[in-house]
């Protein structure tokens, strides 16, 4: 059986947390689910529940990446460049630019 591989990308602080929750929801449904926090501004520090969600996602072979060092350090996210993200997207069955871009 081929499993779906899904990547959600977030470019707005307001929808990042829900977007990660959405990725977790797909991982629970037996998909490989990834999230990527792009751009500035800097994220807020995860609360305990949000940090647990990230751990659960990783336990299910998913992950959350970020394109800025500040966001990676703040919330223990995996660093990724736009070029690396693009290559990763080529492996995905579903690519989801999530929510809106905040100007």
């Amino acid at each position: 059986m081929e499993y779906n591989k899904v990547c959600l990308m977030y470019r707005n602080q307001d929808c990042t947390i829900d977007g990660i929750r959405s990725a977790l929801g797909l991982a629970v449904e037996n998909m490989y689910a990834y999230g990527c926090v792009m751009d500035e501004p800097k994220m807020e520090k995860f609360n305990e529940l949000q940090a647990e969600s990230l751990e659960m996602l990783r336990d299910m072979e998913g992950d959350v990446f970020a394109t800025t060092a500040a966001n990676c350090e703040l919330n223990d996210l995996e660093p990724i460049t736009i070029e690396e993200l693009g290559e990763k997207l080529r492996e995905m069955t579903h690519i989801i630019p999530y929510g809106i871009i905040k100007a």
Binding site: N4, G19, S22, V28, E29
Partner: protein, 105 residues
């Protein structure tokens, strides 16, 4: 037989496209499922066309956790929806797994 189409909506400003695409797909006898999450759950209360969308599409549901987070009472079920359509992210999984074509808006 037309392909089936699942639409995952996370942007609250895309409702006219949700309607337009759903109408066009139904005109081709496609089976259409729409799931609203996060900010887009505002559409269920603020878009006058939402009840019509529920009639046109084969299946419309919203993320009840998102709806609550947007400040709504989960017992205040939007016009056009039944209680069972106040759902979880599993609906997104169904769209990905069971529908031929996928669109996020």
């Amino acid at each position: 037989m037309s392909k089936s189409l699942g639409i995952f909506v996370t942007n609250p400003d895309q409702f006219k496209h949700v309607m337009g695409i759903t109408k066009a797909a139904k005109a081709k006898c496609s089976k259409v499922k729409v799931f609203f999450s996060w900010d887009a759950t505002h559409n269920a209360k603020k878009e006058a066309g939402f009840p019509e969308l529920c009639k046109i599409a084969d299946d419309v549901s919203i993320c009840v956790d998102s709806y609550k987070n947007m400040g709504y009472d989960i017992n205040d079920i939007p016009e056009g929806l039944e209680e069972k359509a106040m759902a979880t992210q599993a609906q997104h999984g169904i769209i990905i797994e069971d529908y031929d074509c996928y669109l996020s808006l």
